[in-house]
Symmetry: C2
Subunit: 205 residues, 2 copies
Amino acid sequence: MNEQGPTGRERRHARTRQAILEIALELSNESGLEELSLREIARRADFSPAGLYRYFESKEDIVAALAADATRLLTDHLNSVPTNLHPRERLIRLGLAYLTFAGENPAHFRLLFSDLPAGRSSLSEPVPANSPYAILLDAVQEAIKSGDVVVPGGDDGAEAMAFAIWSLVHGMALLKQVHLRTFDANFDAIYRHALERMVGTHGRT
Amino acid sequence: MNEQGPTGRERRHARTRQAILEIALELSNESGLEELSLREIARRADFSPAGLYRYFESKEDIVAALAADATRLLTDHLNSVPTNLHPRERLIRLGLAYLTFAGENPAHFRLLFSDLPAGRSSLSEPVPANSPYAILLDAVQEAIKSGDVVVPGGDDGAEAMAFAIWSLVHGMALLKQVHLRTFDANFDAIYRHALERMVGTHGRT
DNA sequence: CTTACTATGTAAACATCGTTCACTTTACAA
DNA sequence: TTGTAAAGTGAACGATGTTTACATAGTAAG
């Protein structure tokens, strides 16, 4: 066999893998991640429990694959925010996009940044390209460069601000989805106020 | 037996209960909450697995007791922040106290707001007295009353601001402890910058 | 076409888990 | 001392994630 594209068998293998992941995601959205069971996935996929091990090394491996999917989907979603907005408004819109994603994809969201460690281990390492954080950091740097946002502390100031925004939206999404899951309020308005305060737009622009 | 204080048996029962909880907390701090095992608690407490059921209804019940402890400890810790500070500085110190608590009590922190639903279900209900959120909300209301902090939207504005601060510190603590657990940076400085930005103190006061 | 070989799938077993049940032992009150 | 409730145990149940040995189906080479 020469070097060429994926064979039929490989394509079928990849498709089955994907199908398993979709069932795992369904199950997670129905009953939560804690109760996700390998054997239940197997039942719904008409597999014997052992069969899944031809496609994944372990249950943890399945969850990791879901988390990787989540990161890719979030990246796409953040990339759909226009880049030519007023810099502060762009930051706000990125935050709101994060919150929308979390609301619409609860299981995927719960996987974000909750298991896999970060891709880098200090500020001196490069930011992983095409990651959600890279998009946010870029927007912060643009806002600083345009003078629209002022941060202390030079280069690392942008990272500090990106981390703050990230923490804020992640915290809001998590609290709403877990601890405040039965709380009735207009979260969309609250989200926007919080982001405007963080980014520095306290009134209308 | 007349109505009087706890008998010797009741005191011993309560002490054993507490001892079990301490072992459960130790185990959580060592190996994480996900891997906490009833049987491992029993082994370390020199109990048979079934014996624990004289003290707790279920594993979930043990975790709930730990979470209640966590809330009480956090409340104490927040109450140790002076109340006579400059209103904005007080808010910042409350946030930093939250982050300190999270850093020093990782297992207890992971239980905070992560399992039990909130004590109220809409803004019209009263805030649970002596809760961490009540302390924060009170500080926000003081800051607004003093004119030190300006929020839009009347009464609910204070709640929105309290939620924003809460989300920010919770998100920062969580991201640092989970996704950024191997990341090396001066988080204390980052925490303070983020809080100052959120509360509105952008330079020295 | 046949012969290897690999991919795919299964059944059975293992260790562990949370939980329950029947039972014994301990401690205290009358 | 006796009766009763609490405290504690071992064995079992059903469930989990995982491994092993085995069967079958597809495919590539002779």
